[in-house]
């Protein structure tokens, strides 16, 4: 692609991701409604889709207020960090053959780096608010980051070993013989759990934990800045789903040689199903206490990841030797 088309493509990915995140808020509420024997937003437009626009108008026109006791600049900066980091993460997502903003040879590391940066948003938001609930939310987020960052990265190393590359395109191409969700099911399992923790969604929404900390780190946020946090969360949800699709479900590759359906459709469909799965998790599972979450991370997830690495490494060497 020429530079011009890359810029056009980048802008459309950005708009698509933001639009997708906005629609995801509505979609999640409708889907939760379906599973919880109720309707969800169904009044504005067909199937209530207009709710997205209504919410946006409401959030964007609200008084842009900074509490007098807050640390003003950090308070304003915090919600932008998560949106920027998450949007940057989309740069390495291969939506189809050649449909990618940039094919970095360290694409996977770039993705991990960007999602880690997003945590700062929560930390800084919690600190800058100068509110006790927000502080507790920020503390929890820090603890969660420390324990989940470790094996989030490690859980993907099995995929890297098998494909022999950090490049997203290579990883997808190497799955022509079989998706990694089968050979790397432990890696997938751990990554899904880490990903929920990373995106702060129920059951691991401890920094937010409505029933405990009212709204946790974003207790003091409202209007546009609150909308940025929400946008960041849903961008994160979509990005993580894209990554799970790319790394474990063959990316744009068509299953059963159904290649007459375009690659981008396959990619979107898989990502969509992963998003539905995340929403179902939110719907079904209660929230563990945060020390329980920590011990789950260190005592169960980390050993599983390491075992997975050792076995994958041994198998990879054995295959290479044979």
């Amino acid at each position: 692609m020429s530079d011009f088309w890359i810029i056009v493509f980048a802008i459309s990915v950005m708009l698509g991701a933001v639009g997708g995140a906005a629609v995801a808020t509505w979609f999640e509420r409708r889907l939760l409604g379906l599973w919880q024997d109720r309707y969800g937003p169904n009044r504005i437009g067909p199937f209530g889709i207009g709710q997205v626009a209504a919410d946006m108008i409401k959030l964007l026109t609200k008084h842009d207020w900074v509490p007098p006791f807050a640390d003003k600049w950090v308070f304003i900066f915090a919600p932008t960090a998560i949106v920027v980091a998450m949007l940057l993460g989309f740069a390495v997502v291969p939506f189809g053959p050649g449909l990618q903003i940039i094919d970095l040879n360290i694409g996977l590391l770039f993705f991990l780096g960007m999602t880690s940066l997003a945590v700062y948003s929560v930390l800084l938001g919690g600190l800058a608010s100068n509110n006790k609930y927000a502080l507790l939310g920020g503390l929890r987020s820090a603890a969660q980051m420390v324990s989940y960052e470790v094996f989030m990265g490690l859980s993907l190393m099995g995929v890297v070993m098998l494909s022999g590359s950090f490049s997203m395109v290579d990883i997808v191409e190497s799955q022509r013989d079989g998706w990694y969700c089968f050979s790397q099911f432990l890696g997938l399992f751990v990554f899904v759990i880490a990903a929920i923790a990373e995106s702060h969604r129920l059951p691991f929404d401890l920094p937010e934990a409505e029933h405990e900390l009212t709204a946790g780190f974003h207790t003091e946020y409202s209007g546009m800045k609150f909308a940025m946090f929400m946008l960041g969360e849903y961008l994160g949800l979509i990005l993580i789903s894209c990554m799970i699709t790319t790394l474990f479900f063959g990316g744009w590759l068509a299953p059963f040689s159904l290649t007459f359906i375009p690659a981008i459709v396959w990619f979107s469909l898989k990502t969509f199903l992963v998003i539905c799965f995340f929403i179902l998790l939110r719907c079904a599972i209660p929230r563990p206490r945060y020390d329980q979450l920590m011990s789950l991370g260190w005592k169960i997830m980390l050993p599983i990841t390491l075992i997975n690495l050792v076995i994958t490494g041994a198998v990879a060497l054995w295959i290479a030797g044979a």
Partner: protein
């Protein structure tokens, strides 16, 4: 009623006479037959210490302003009286001790505190201080509890205005608002707390009165070390509406709707103890059909209340969906309640002497459809919520207390049965016709959050059993007593003889005059023992309405069971206790 007569036991009175001398007591006759003894202030501690092994639970403690009371022939002189109502679960017996407040060195009316004897006397004494200005000598923190700290006067005194129109119009300017807010500031030193230890400061977190998980307007000030709760001070009173004071203004029947709003999830279950107490005072026998209708409605409301508990309990643990299923069930239940009573949450449908109307045509099908559908749904919820391992990890072993602690703190109802005490008032004193029904009393043994939920969920099933028996065996006959003090009074003969017409007119306009006396008939309400201690002075209104609610002592016990745990555990504990603030503050 028959049930309470059984609890009359005079052997303890004989023992007391033997120990302290008969001359030290004045025995008061009460309509409910509970032995009621007046004693002297200096003997309060010895007598209560003597009684405690026999009556381990302080069931209630309250004040009475006697200054305007006319009918107190067999009672000693007293301006303000403090009543100690003790309960023995093992013997299934009650005793009431009464004490006249005396002028002391620094208070006009004072009595010795009994907080060293019963831990749960603390809040009750604060309430009596708040409401009557009775000072409790040596009480550790005798602050106001229900009214704001800035309140002037003591609300339940007879000379305190009862209506807003008797007072200056209320206004809130900025200075006053600032003062009120400052008065509510939590000051750790008032509660004997340290603000730091070993160089690290504690965080003091104001949880509530507006917080998603405190189930109403309940404030709890937490002393935190990180997220660990070092100590907690519950603060109540934000939902106080003066229900007891209103009882002194409303006629006997017109107080009924106020009772509905005490435990607002219990609906007509609240009417029952009030009706039973008034009927006791008036000597009204309720016809069989009315009894069965009352039990059916009360049990339906028990199911409704427990469903709300179930849903919110699971939601507070962080599971999002179940609450919607349980509220949908409750909605169906309200449909039935509406068809029968015309109301949903607050039908105010019981009447003195029976119920307001007969059951409507077709009620059987509605009730049958509901109770047929519930067991399968409960099984489903069980798999979804109670079997969930995260939920189990969050609640098993959390917020534990033993049976002894429960009794010491006045804990009743499912919260008591979760500690392994097999004590349900419906079995122990089958009031209102419960002796005619077959059901089990579910108990659990660990006394933790999980067990409190288990007991309640099993109670839903047992209530379904009771409702089915009501459905299959609904007797024929009148739904209200023919007694002349029932309300509304029987109308049939009003157009035939002048005597009945006059009675009917007076009873509907002024309300019936209930014979003078005192009575208190407890019931097993949705959340524990609930009773109305009613004092009639022979008039058309109650002289004193004392509402003993189960949630009040339950909240008092929160600090005890939450020390050393984390905030999420505290939320689980609050959810598992199952209280509503209206039931606490009245």
């Amino acid at each position: 009623m028959l049930a309470v007569e059984q609890t009359t036991d005079l052997t303890i009175v004989a023992k007391l006479f033997e120990e302290f001398g008969a001359h030290t007591f004045v025995v008061q006759k009460t309509v409910d037959g509970i032995p009621t003894l007046w004693i002297q202030a200096e003997l309060l501690h010895p007598i209560l210490t003597f009684l405690k092994p026999h009556y381990p639970m302080l069931y209630d403690l309250f004040g009475i302003d006697e200054r305007l009371r006319e009918h107190r022939e067999d009672q000693p002189e007293s301006d303000f009286t403090v009543v100690y109502h003790l309960l023995s679960l093992a013997q299934n017996l009650d005793i009431r001790i009464k004490l006249a407040a005396q002028t002391s060195a620094d208070a006009e009316y004072a009595v010795p505190t009994i907080t060293p004897l019963w831990a749960n006397a603390n809040w009750y004494e604060r309430e009596a201080w708040d409401m009557f200005g009775i000072s409790f000598t040596d009480h550790p923190n005798l602050y106001r509890i229900l009214l704001p700290p800035t309140w002037v006067g003591h609300a339940l005194r007879k000379d305190h205005p009862a209506r807003a129109t008797e007072m200056e119009p209320f206004s809130l300017n900025e200075t006053k608002q600032a003062e009120e807010q400052e008065a509510l500031r939590f000051r750790p030193e008032e509660w004997g707390m340290q603000t730091s230890k070993d160089g690290t400061e504690y965080m003091f977190l104001n949880l509530g009165p507006n917080h998603p998980s405190v189930h109403g307007v309940f404030r709890i000030a937490l002393q935190l070390d990180g997220e660990v709760v070092v100590d907690a001070v519950p603060d109540i009173g934000y939902h106080h509406r003066g229900a007891e004071k209103m009882g002194e203004r409303q006629s006997w029947p017109s107080y009924m709707p106020y009772t509905d709003r005490i435990d607002y999830l219990g609906g007509v279950m609240n009417n029952l103890p009030y009706c039973l107490s008034v009927e006791k005072l008036a000597g009204i026998e309720v016809p069989e059909k009315a009894k069965v209708i009352r039990i059916m409605l009360a049990e339906l409301f028990r199911i409704s209340s427990h469903l709300v508990f179930y849903g919110t309990f699971v939601q507070d643990i962080g599971q999002m969906s179940p609450v919607f299923y349980m509220f949908a069930d409750r909605e169906r239940l309200f449909g039935i309640i509406e068809a029968i009573t015309g109301g949903r949450m607050h039908p105010a449908w019981f009447r003195i002497g029976g119920v307001a109307a007969d059951l409507p045509n077709g009620w059987e099908k509605l009730v049958r459809d509901f109770i047929d559908s519930m067991p399968a749904r409960l099984d489903h919820y069980d798999k979804m919520a109670m079997q969930n391992s995260i939920l189990k990890n969050r609640t098993i072993g959390i917020g534990k207390y033993s049976a002894e602690e429960a009794i010491e703190w006045g804990v009743t109802g499912p919260n008591l049965r979760a500690t392994g005490v097999d004590w349900d008032l419906r079995k122990q004193r089958p009031y209102a016709g419960y002796d005619q029904f077959e059901f089990d009393v579910p108990i659990a043994h660990n006394g933790d959050c999980y067990d409190r939920a288990v007991v309640r969920i099993e109670e839903i099933r047992q209530s379904l059993r009771i409702v089915r028996q009501c459905l299959d065996n609904m007797p024929e006959g009148p739904y209200k007593s023919e007694h002349k003090l029932t309300s509304p009074p029987p109308k049939e003969n009003t157009m035939h003889d002048i005597e009945t017409l006059i009675h009917h007119f007076l009873h509907t306009s002024w309300g019936p005059a209930i014979p003078a006396g005192e009575a208190c008939v407890p019931i097993e309400a949705t959340k524990g023992l609930n009773s109305y201690h009613l004092i009639s002075d022979g008039g058309t209104t109650s002289y004193r309405t004392r509402i003993r609610t189960p949630s009040f002592p339950h909240l008092q016990q929160i600090p005890l069971i939450s020390r050393g745990l984390m905030i999420p555990d505290l939320i689980a504990i609050i959810a598992s206790i199952d209280f509503v603030m209206a039931d606490v503050d009245r």
